[in-house]
Symmetry: D3
């Protein structure tokens, strides 16, 4: 059966345009693999330990990287502020990404390295839940990198107030782990 047909069937069941007994089966037992649209139904999935590591980079001017390395950025401690932003955004991932499930994060941290051209951010997230945390790790990385940008704005702007060089790039999931299931 094709996606559109199944979506229609689900919709009909929801609006009770099929018999009660059909509706019950469709609404409750239709596997998501056959269903269509919206948030994935993870109701029946077992809880498991899940983990993800994501990474991203922000390209900055050499002078800016030097100021960060020497701890002389005027707006304050760049990495502690960016880490807090990443941790807090991570916990609110399901408010930022519409179809993400709310997940009880049990660990999240973000670490940073200053390279020759970039600052690298790596986020490590853990949970015990029905679904994975790669979007949570990516959200932590994103919020951290945006916070770094915000903290070094004045060093990255050119004379016309533009950002010709600043770029966030290479944002990816490095590892996603799922261990033994657990009820």
């Amino acid at each position: 059966m094709q996606h559109n047909a199944i979506r229609e069937l689900y919709s009909k069941a929801l609006f009770q345009q099929v018999g009660e007994s059909v509706a019950k089966v469709v609404l409750r037992y239709l596997p998501y693999e056959m269903m269509d649209g919206g948030m994935v139904d993870v109701t029946g999935k077992p809880r498991a330990f899940r983990e993800a590591i994501a990474e991203g980079r922000i390209r900055l001017r050499k002078e800016t990287l030097r100021l960060i390395r020497e701890g002389r950025v005027r707006k304050g401690d760049v990495f502690t502020t960016a880490r807090v932003a990443g941790v807090m955004a991570c916990k609110r991932t399901s408010e930022i990404i519409p179809l993400c499930h709310p997940i009880p994060i049990t660990y999240v941290n973000v670490y940073f390295e200053v390279e020759e051209l970039d600052v690298v951010a790596r986020a490590h997230v853990k949970t015990r839940a029905e679904t994975g945390v790669e979007m949570e790790a990516l959200t932590a990385v994103m919020a951290s990198l945006l916070t770094i940008w915000d903290m070094v704005k004045e060093y990255e702007k050119d004379s016309r107030g533009q950002y010709p060089e600043t770029t966030i790039h290479s944002v990816k999931v490095l590892r996603k782990i799922r261990e033994g299931e657990q009820h």
Copy 2:
């Protein structure tokens, strides 16, 4: 005078370890350009029309791009969902980036294009405020791209559940505009 000395003076004024009259001058009139740390003080800045356009890309598999182009992604309408996510995150930028000021956004939208290797997102943000909206435009782009990732997860995972190719990249501010001041 150097940053650390000014930061210390401000702190002393705040804790009233200098005379009342000195404290008053330091706390109220010390120009931010001389001050140090934390949120930029924009209290005295005039309101102006401000605008920013930011852009970012997500690299996806060709098969995924085809599904998006043909509107056949199982989780639903990718671009409308990503646009709503971008618009809603944009309005909450100051909750995600610690030192951003709350800004009364008067317009925001996000547009998308499917290219050969990437989906491109462009966010356009306007306001009438004391400070610019480039972080708001970047936040809209980020939330939109993360939402696209979330919606096509199942097509991007390899057999081990990893994302070997998916990458967010080339996130930058294209234009920042500030027009005539206005009280």
Copy 3:
């Protein structure tokens, strides 16, 4: 010119597929009345005093209405709790309704009356802004009515845990006012 054509032009201008000078005009000066999609652009609109009164009703069992009238609902003071919920949701309207602008609410309150069959909630909202507050007033009404429902759940459920009678209805905007503009 039709909607789709204009939407396409705007999109082309945003992606710089038209000349710089055309892009500038389209992105900045195209009146919203001609534009298409997403949040309305209110950047250029003058600030004015704006006000809205919205109303809604919740149908409850007579016994429940009696308990409310006599202040004997187990979960506590129904109207104060519902009022606080309405006021707080009103301030966050732009987080609940995707295309609403963030508005600096200057007054909001919700009042209640117990009628023969219903509780009526009326919300009164004021601001000084570029756009109206009817969605804010409706959001206050909705949050208040949902809170009332939540507080009297145990008296409305039948023996199978269902709510055969409870209904929210007649939610409408009673008055929307806009007074003299103000810069």
Copy 4:
């Protein structure tokens, strides 16, 4: 024993105006059925699969319904936007309704139908938790209907900027299900 007496006893126990051993019993083991006020204590309740379907309607002008049916509403795709709004509000129900518990939603979606006079929204919510999700389903319906209103404002206003016909009504819980308990 009556409500007020029990509320008073609980309060006394909390403020240690009764002996330590009495306080311990009252604070820990007094069944909620005897207690009074505030959030229901679900600490000891078993987790179960729970589900709810709620529905609501918005009365719109025939011309507006036609525009929705034909996908020609200027602000964009009405149902995808309303669905996203419903899904996102659903996940934040406990931030909108004061005495609701935070619930780890495992599935939520909202479907729409255009009838002769109304748009109908149906929300379907699932979880595995200590308490039901009917308020979550109602919140999804409400946010979806408010979003529809917001998207068709310009077609519903009369010449004086008022909404003489637009009405949200018939918001109710269609079904609430609780299946086998699970620890």
Copy 5:
């Protein structure tokens, strides 16, 4: 006229139980000084530069204070983390305190000092708005002090997991300033 009488009149006007012309006067022009209940109506008040400094203290064990002073707290940089928490909570004051107006904060920072028995936090907040920012400054102080507590929990707990000494105290507004009005 007494409070209750005015509250009743306002309520009657809202529910149109008085004539249209009386209702209009009451709803629009009744000065707040005579009105009753809920959020203060600041719609007609002029915008002015406003500022507040608030302070609070947390009593900690000497050993904990030493670890803070030496930057050896295991959970990381206490003051940067507490400052970020204070700044972020400050911007969301109107989501935490029900009857607070949303205020466009133009500056906020929190500074810390380690004394013999306490850590002192001072928050400095500025805006240009219709109403003052003392609640915003107090909220920043509170969030900062709670964050400090959270970061040093392991050093403050006794062998039974209790906090016999940790105490937040002396939270007050040091100065509230309002300068020349401005439209």
Copy 6:
């Protein structure tokens, strides 16, 4: 091994500057007691019933206390409003305190007493989670006390608009309980 060495090792493992097998051990099994920085990793901890009672006081003028006692505060019902504020803030503790885990609160309430010089607030919080709820109870107390302050501002200000007497103090955790573990 000292904190800094372990923090460095963890960071190296995260950035894969050690061998894959070492990285795996460090990232997954290094006990938190040896690790450093950021949110405590509670992934492997068993769920248990947990409970906390926290308390705080606000010193108010005798006249203000009398108005509260007599229910004559102009802004409305002080204790119901403060209770709702406390309950709602409690549920969002992990959004206010950066390194707090999101916790599924199963019960929270706040009770008040008027003493000779102070109003006392006591919050009682319960959950079934991997970590305790004392920060949640403290957050409820804080939001409740700030809300009381906000509601009686007009009675506490002196002729210069200052608050010479109002003080929040004696905020502490009275009891923290953890019972039998539960998977």
